[in-house]
């Protein structure tokens, strides 16, 4: 729409400025064109006529010169030398002739005077341009021949024959044949003042240029392009010219004097006007453009803005604001518009809020009603709402079901529709009380519905008030309790039966309890028997282990003593028979010494083994408890242990920790742990570190023992406290150390022992001893 305004405005501006200019330019151009064309043409025509006359004059002048020569001299009567001299003077005068020939009255040449060549006498007479001389003699009139070009200089020449008559007799005496040069005409054309783009030239009947201010064109034998054609023509150089030609006849020879001018110069005024008009048009267009830009900025853009804003507002976007450009009428309009839209926006907001509020209220109402209906219809109670005239207003499904009526048959109907007689009177009385007291009444009612059916109801009647406190409705909620009533009756009967049954059951339970106690006692006995059997089994296992361990040294000792017995018997026999040699006796002594050593060694070993077995039984240490300084006591223990390895034993137990315990048991624990590590943890020359530390806690001491040796394999770890478990059986270890330790800790120290280890990462024991 607005671009339409812009278009219309632009069109109007163009129509009011460019179009008149265009029209006036066209008119001006046309008039200028016609006037200038006519003017130029006429001027040129005039010039060509003038030049024609001058050329004509020139040739007539030459004729006059000849006549003058004849009139002032007695040419015919003079001798040939004087004649030659006279003609020579004619040539020398202006170089207008290339040659002058004198013929007799029959046209035979007597002599000639040439401009460039000396006269060479010819013995024989000859004709000079016989055709022309004949014509002259015949018609007794001067004639001109055709124009031709000289061989060497390429100058155009024209032959002319002039009659020479005897003044007395008027007879033809001689003819002068002259070769007339055009150089004078060239000079004439050169002297003409040429306007810009103007060209003046003379052509002969063959359209060849014979005179031009530029002789080159003549010498080149240039041919003009249709010189007789006037007006706008195409020149020989293919440019358009305005041409005016004047032709004239010089005693039988046609000359065309052409004056032409380049079209641009000929119509220069028109072209200037055109250029001026074009420039003016460009300037006007620029001006229109600037004006349009200004209008665009100051009028159309604000209107366009307003329109767009109005469009946006119509779509509902009331926040849009029109731009205020200045303080003109449009700006005032924009301000008013903005004010209007702001007010509309405000009103709309208020309206929106009200609608929202109402919608919310309605929604709540609907929801409430739905909830109410849902509650009413999904309850087992019969609910009804009556007005103050006891007419039903709302009833629920259960109500309809109980009374076996349809909704249409009950709404707006009085209570008497459903009840009559005493029941009606009772209900109306109840409602009357509510109207009077305005309080709830809850009653249990026995009603006979549909005449015969007896039903019990718990009825709650209550009033409903409006916001001013006026009672408007009575609501009744009657719950059918007929079934509950029946159950109540049944429960009463059931309770009576139950008391009797409980008494019977209590009696049975007491009997069963006694039986159960007996059974538990029996179980305890069985358990002890089982423990004993286990102890016997483990003792068997221990005995077989002990037997196995002591069997070897005892076997060796037995073998030794048997052998000793044999050799002793032998030596006795030898001694007895006095057959004993000294050597034999010495052998015996050596053998007995060796055997006794062997036996002694094996018996000591057996003894040691038995000592060790004794330690397995914790009870062997029958000592008294006493208080020890743990760190000092442990140091003493470490120093007594023979340590020939490179392993260092660090005692990190804190100072001044006292423990009331069995010192022997504690010492045994430490000794077993150290010996165990020394013999199992390290290789022969390996350097290791054993660390003993202690943590004191409120009720217990936590003794920690660790080494950095090879550790214990994962599969072996659960078995280390088992008796006779050893990985170094071949080295003579019986595998009892840790078992002894376990028994001491558990039984004598009443503590706990645990071991953690990973292969090649050392072993760590933790012994927890309670402080008693």
């Amino acid at each position: 729409m607005f671009s339409g305004i812009k278009k219309r405005l632009t069109l109007s501006l163009i129509l009011t400025s460019i179009v008149p200019l265009l029209i006036s330019t066209v008119i001006l151009l046309y008039s200028e064109y016609t006037v200038q064309k006519k003017q130029t043409f006429l001027l040129q025509k005039e010039e060509s006529i003038r030049i024609s006359e001058q050329i004509n004059e020139y040739f007539r002048g030459l004729e006059k010169d000849i006549d003058f020569l004849l009139s002032i001299t007695s040419f015919v009567a003079e001798d040939i030398r004087i004649k030659k001299n006279l003609l020579s003077r004619m040539i020398s005068k202006e170089n207008q002739f290339d040659r002058l020939s004198l013929t007799d009255k029959y046209g035979m040449e007597i002599f000639y005077i040439d401009r460039t060549l000396p006269f060479v006498e010819n013995k024989e007479f000859k004709y000079t341009n016989q055709k022309l001389t004949n014509k002259v003699i015949q018609h007794e009139k001067n004639y001109y021949g055709q124009i031709y070009f000289e061989n060497k200089s390429f100058e155009p020449l024209i032959d002319a024959a002039f009659l020479i008559k005897n003044l007395k007799t008027s007879d033809i005496e001689n003819v002068i044949v002259a070769k007339i040069r055009f150089k004078k005409i060239w000079e004439l054309l050169a002297s003409v003042i040429h306007l810009e783009g103007e060209e003046v030239f003379v052509t002969n009947s063959k359209n060849m240029i014979v005179a031009h201010k530029n002789p080159s064109l003549v010498i080149k034998k240039t041919v003009a392009n249709n010189p007789l054609e006037n007006g706008f023509v195409k020149d020989r150089t293919n440019t358009y010219v305005l041409r005016s030609t004047n032709s004239f006849n010089l005693n039988g020879v046609m000359f065309n004097v052409v004056v032409q001018r380049n079209i641009y110069d000929a119509l220069s005024l028109s072209f200037n006007t055109l250029i001026f008009a074009s420039v003016l048009m460009v300037v006007l267009l620029s001006f229109i453009f600037i004006v349009m830009k200004y209008i665009d900025k100051s009028i159309i853009n604000p209107i366009l803005d307003l329109s767009n804003i109005a469009k946006e507002i119509s779509k509902g976007d009331l926040k849009q604001k029109a731009k205020v450009y200045g303080n003109d009428e449009l700006s005032f309009l924009a301000i008013t518009f903005n004010d209007m839209s702001r007010k509309i926006n405000k009103t709309m907001d208020t309206l929106k809020e009200e609608i929202e509020l109402k919608t919310a209220v309605q929604y709540n109402l609907e929801t409430s009603e739905k909830r109410l209906l849902a509650i009413m219809n999904n309850t087992n109670a019969a609910i009804y709402l009556k007005d103050l005239e006891s007419k039903y207003v709302i009833v629920n499904e259960e109500f309809l079901k109980i009374h076996k009526v349809k909704k249409e048959g009950i709404i707006n109907k009085p209570t008497s529709v459903l009840f009559e007689g005493e029941q009606l009177a009772y209900i109306l009385d109840q409602e009357l009380q509510i109207k009077l007291t305005k309080e709830n009444i809850t009653t249990e009612e026995q009603l006979y519905l549909n005449d015969s059916e007896e039903r019990f109801f718990l009825s709650n009647r209550f009033p409903i008030f409006d916001k001013d406190g006026n009672m408007i409705n009575i609501v009744g909620v009657s719950t059918d309790i007929t079934h509950i009533k029946n159950i109540q009756k049944q429960l009463e009967n059931f309770n009576k039966d139950l008391e009797k049954k409980i008494a019977d059951k209590t009696k049975d339970l007491t009997t069963a309890n006694e039986e159960l106690e007996d059974m538990v006692n029996k179980l305890h006995q069985t358990q002890e028997q089982l423990i004993f059997s286990e102890k016997i089994a483990s003792l068997g296992l221990l005995v077989s282990g002990v037997a196995h361990e002591i069997n070897t040294p005892l076997g060796v000792a037995l073998t030794g003593i048997t052998y000793f017995d044999d050799i002793t018997t032998q030596i006795n026999e030898s001694y007895s028979s006095n057959n004993m040699s000294q050597e034999e006796f010495e052998n015996y002594l050596e053998a007995s010494s060796n055997i006794s050593k062997q036996i002694l060694l094996n018996l000591k070993r057996t003894s040691n083994l038995i000592q060790t077995f004794k330690q397995v039984s914790v009870n062997q240490i029958d000592e008294e408890k006493r208080e020890i300084d743990v760190k000092a006591y442990t140091n003493t223990l470490i120093s007594t242990i023979p340590n020939q390895t490179k392993t260092i034993i660090q005692n990190n137990i804190p100072n001044n920790i006292k423990l009331n315990t069995y010192p022997g048991a504690y010492g045994q624990v430490i000794t077993i742990l150290i010996l165990n590590s020394l013999s199992h943890a390290y290789d022969a020359d390996e350097k290791g570190t054993i660390i003993i530390s202690l943590e004191q806690e409120p009720n217990q001491l936590k003794l920690k023992f660790s080494d950095d040796g090879r550790g214990i394999e994962k599969n072996d770890l659960p078995h280390i406290f088992e008796p006779f478990f050893t990985t170094k059986r071949n080295l003579g270890g019986p595998g009892l150390g840790l078992n002894i330790l376990y028994n001491i800790v558990r039984q004598q120290l009443k503590g706990k022992v645990s071991c953690t280890s990973k292969l090649n990462q050392g072993v760590s024991f933790e012994i927890v001893i309670p402080i008693v």
């Binding site: 001299n85 020579s88 003077r89 020398s92 005068k93 170089n95 040439d114 401009r115 460039t116 060549l117 000396p118 006269f119 060479v120 060497k152 200089s153 390429f154 100058e155 150089k183 530029n214 002789p215 080159s216 010498i219 080149k220 034998k221 460009v282 620029s286 453009f289 600037i290 830009k293």
Partner: protein, 318 residues
């Protein structure tokens, strides 16, 4: 807005650029080996001045003067070409030939003013169709006509002294024509071949005793040493005929030929055409005008009585 303003400014600038193009400075090189021909240059400059070419304003001439020797022409020619001239004006036939040789490639236009026989010497293909980058003004062979005039003025002449350079085509051709003309008469032509200035001095010191007249041909070497001839011959009272009016003005007895000044003037029009974009190959060779000139002062000194009817036809120089 800004764009329109910019376009407007552009239009204004282009208007001033195209319509007020600064005048071009035209450069013309001048080549000559004969000082006598400098008069032609004077006419040439005057002519161009008439056509609007003012020296040092819109036209510049590069000319260090005549070289004197033909052998010095190549160097002078090179010097001119280095100036990147628009046109070369040659004042003698050898200069024309040198310029022709040096412009075979770049085709700088050459105007000769004059060359005695442009077709014969190979400067142009023909008079009305030069065909290359050379054109100019010639003066044709009017030498026989001069002799005719000379004999007409001095009918008793029997021996004509003809000094010339046989290496120069022009005097050789002329000599042939002259010989033909006097063949059947009792007039004899005594020739003197000259190669150098020294030859001239020597020949002047040993002039034949019985010569009636000295006929100076269109020979650059001889013409350039005209003054020496004048000095000697005027002393000996021997009339000298020269090819062009300039010689008469210098003191020779007579001439029938062109005026170098006018020839220069004539050639300036051709030069103008070329400077305006014309192609020399299409500009015909023009022929100069010639006239009888008689130095009346010399005539009196020599004691010659020229008949009035002849004197009346001549350009009289005092």
């Amino acid at each position: 807005m800004q764009r329109i303003f910019f376009v407007f400014i552009l239009l204004v600038i282009s208007y001033f650029y195209f319509f007020n193009e600064p005048q071009k400075m035209h450069k013309i090189g001048v080549l000559s080996h004969a000082k006598v021909a400098d008069v032609s240059l004077k006419g040439f400059k005057e002519g161009l001045k008439i056509y609007g070419y003012i020296e040092n304003k819109n036209i510049q001439y590069y000319y260090d003067g005549a070289t004197g020797k033909v052998s010095d022409l190549p160097a002078a020619s090179q010097k001119i070409l280095e100036k990147n001239v628009d046109l070369i004006l040659t004042l003698t036939t050898p200069a024309g030939l040198q310029a022709q040789k040096d412009t075979l490639e770049n085709k700088t236009p050459i105007v000769f003013a004059p060359a005695s026989n442009p077709v014969g010497s190979g400067l142009v293909q023909s008079i009305n169709n030069p065909g290359s980058n050379i054109t100019g003004v010639t003066f044709g062979l009017q030498e026989v006509k001069r002799l005719e005039w000379l004999l007409k003025i001095l009918p008793d002449t029997k021996k004509i002294y003809y000094p010339y350079n046989s290496k120069d085509k022009s005097p050789v051709v002329t000599l042939n024509e002259l010989q033909k003309f006097v063949k059947n008469s009792d007039v004899k032509i005594v020739t003197q071949d000259l190669k150098t200035k020294e030859d001239i001095i020597h020949s002047l010191n040993n002039l034949p005793k019985d010569i009636d007249v000295v006929f100076i041909p269109t020979d650059a070497l001889v013409a350039s040493n005209l003054k020496k001839y004048l000095k000697v011959c005027n002393k000996l009272k021997i009339p000298i005929s020269v090819p062009h009016r300039m010689g008469v003005e210098l003191g020779a007895f007579m001439s029938y030929g062109f005026s170098l000044y006018e020839l220069g003037l004539q050639s300036s029009r051709i030069a103008k055409e070329i400077l305006n974009g014309g192609n020399p190959k299409n500009i015909p060779v023009e022929t100069s005008e010639f006239k009888l000139s008689i130095n009346t002062k010399n005539m009196k000194e020599l004691g010659i009585n020229v008949p009035d009817n002849i004197l009346i036809q001549a350009v009289k120089i005092n």
